[in-house]
């Protein structure tokens, strides 16, 4: 069965520290990859996505992610986090050839940024 694994469940950083959240998926075919973010009290929103092309994608608020096909990975990065980045981050994969758009989510990573 397809699955998505996020390596860190809870990350605590100080402001200005660099961030990298790991995401690996298990599927050998073509995939669409997503990172969603959920700020406290808000709904899930898209941070960035990869469909094809340049494997380094840039999203909102200075986030970026790199798709490494050989490693089945799509890690999220930010050079310098801010207190406002405190949120829960979900990696998701669409590996559905029938185009239903179904997503498989990782278990999420809670990021706490200390001011």
């Amino acid at each position: 069965a397809q699955s998505v694994s996020q390596h860190n469940h809870h990350v605590i950083l100080s402001e200005a520290a660099s961030l990298e959240l790991g995401c690996n998926y298990s599927y050998g075919g073509t995939v669409n990859l997503f990172w969603y973010v959920q700020y406290p009290g808000q709904h899930l929103q898209l941070l960035l996505k990869y469909f094809s092309g340049d494997p380094l994608v840039k999203g909102i608020k200075g986030f970026e992610a790199e798709f490494i096909k050989s490693k089945f990975s799509f890690n999220l990065r930010k050079p310098s986090v801010q207190w406002s980045d405190t949120a829960e981050y979900f990696c998701a994969v669409n590996a559905d050839s029938s185009n239903t758009g179904k997503l498989i989510f990782g278990q999420g990573t809670t990021l706490q940024v200390k001011p």
Binding site: F34, L46, K102, L103, Q107
Partner: protein
């Protein structure tokens, strides 16, 4: 900002009650989804629909049912709620005009006593 709405945001009910969680979107998306999420856990797809009068069960078995009579509306119903149904329920929609990106509602947090 996506236009997808869920009501109620919070619901506390007793065992055995019938409930309907509402989800509506104004983006004309053909696909809609229901996810269940327990605290600290991943989202699990429980239902999806790729158009009017088409619904299918998701990867996680659920005792809930859904209907899709109108494009914009995708309600979820529990005929007889139980404490095991306590969870957060998230609705999402996607469509070609949105690049097949899923947009999420704010969720309904359900507690069954």
């Amino acid at each position: 900002e996506a236009d997808i709405y869920q009501t109620p945001r919070y619901l506390v009910i007793g065992t055995g009650k019938k409930i309907t969680l509402e989800c509506s979107q104004t983006m004309g998306h053909d696909k809609m989804y229901w996810y269940q999420q327990d605290p600290g856990m991943e989202l699990h797809l429980i239902h999806y629909s790729y158009g009017v009068n088409s619904t299918e069960k998701g990867d996680l078995s659920s005792e809930s049912t859904v209907s899709r009579i109108r494009t914009e509306h995708f309600p979820l119903t529990l005929e007889s709620a139980r404490p095991s149904h306590t969870s957060q329920y998230l609705c999402a929609s996607s469509g070609l005009q949105g690049g097949n990106i899923q947009y999420f509602g704010a969720g309904t947090r359900l507690s069954v006593l």
